[in-house]
Amino acid sequence: MQRAAMDPAEEPPSMLWGLDPVFSAFARLYVRDILVMTESTQVPGIYFYKLHPIYKVDVLGTVVYKRERDDFFCYGVDDGTGVINCLCWKNDLFKEEDPAPSGAQHSDGAQGGFNLVAELKKLRETQRSRCRLEIGELLRVRGPVKTSRQQREIMASTFYKVDDPVMAVQVAWMMDVPQLYRLCYDKPPQLQPDAAGDSPISVVGKATNIIKDFFKQKSVTRFRPYDVQDLLQPLIPCQPQTASADQEPVAGPSACQQLRQLLKEALQVLQDEGVVYRKVKSQDEVYNVRTIRDVSIPPVTRQLVTLVRTPAVAPSQVTARDTDLLIAVKDVIREDSRREKYAEKGCHILHVLSAVRQRHSLNVSKATLQLVLKSLECNSDIVSTSEDHYTAF
């Protein structure tokens, strides 16, 4: 049970404390743990529970000790594992005198049944009664932990009496806290900003974002994988370039292989989202980028439309080939809407999908088509008549 300050070497640097969600929360620790938390050497006033930086706590317990002064209450709170002093400042509720009687008479006649002054007085009384507790009552306290005169105490930012006639609240608390310990407090915090333990999912997420930004910046319409491969280089942890003689060869995939694997995963994600598609599945891996630009709209209006409906995209020169897919979809819908069969209801998305696949490319995915239809609708080229049905005029 060390109360001494932590070993400075063990403490995580204060810059990274904000990364731990427990630091920003009112930690529901047992009083026993609060009393023996080690204090930080970097910042006095912050404590550590198993490497989690703790600043404020949340306690529920029985009042077993009470001391009242003009400005504050000091309640000793016992939660079954320990007893701690809680400094509860009296706010203005206790300092105000009763309102002048003249005020009460004024509003009596005016409001009829509802006397505002009397109601306010009742509210104040209720608030006061929730703050003034006797020994044996249940108190909930939340606030930062302070050490004063060698004693730990909680400076209450919020405190109130808990009405718990059938012990429901206490029982729930007793069941919850061990779970909280198992799930949060006893698990070591993830305080490394760029941890080696980064899950593969987030790295792929970063990769797709990098590639999407590249598309927007360079207004890419078609590309091959090697065009974007170099963009992902920074995401691969590089091998240390030490010239030491006894550098061991690192087992596992080389940087090149990792890069290629990441690229493959990122392109797959982009295909699933519908951002890119392969028009022709051949040995030559060419990807088409679904574009949200339309030839007909003048640049200024286009910019406005895209600003309103979609993230801002820089306008650039648009060639006829860019909007192949867009035009193909538009044509399909326009032509089929003229047919009697689809005149009233419009074309179902799956019908459009099969038509586009026949006409344009077999590899258009439903996700890609959905994004194209959405952008066409934003440009008012087509209209959706109902869920998944579209028509053009």
């Binding site: 077993v64 000790y65 016992d78 079954g80 007893v83 059938v166 012990m167 007793m174 806290v177």
Partner: protein, 128 residues
Amino acid sequence: MLPAPAVFHFPWEVNSGEVQEGESVRVFGRLVCYQPEESRATLSAQHASKEHRVAVHTLFVEPFNPIIGAQYLVLGEIEKAEGVGAVIRARVLNCVDGVNVALLQNAINEQRSFFIEREQTSDNAQAT
């Protein structure tokens, strides 16, 4: 200045000697009788088809409204007297009638098993 923390115990643990003299405990039970002249109350609880009784000295918590048959929660120190057995000198006596006793027992056991688990892991950590 601050009293010792009152740990939850079951009524059948109080008389069986599992609790030491002077220890602060929290115990629940049904109020079966109350003698105001002697400041004595008796709480009872059923466990393993046996009735267990706990004697409570109520001097510090009087006056209180005794509801015979209601569930109470007592918080206080164990005193062992000759011929009487263990008596709890109550600092807090709350009526908690309506409490789900089974749930409360579960909660107490859950908390205990968590603390045991903790001690075991810390023992393992120290041993290794």
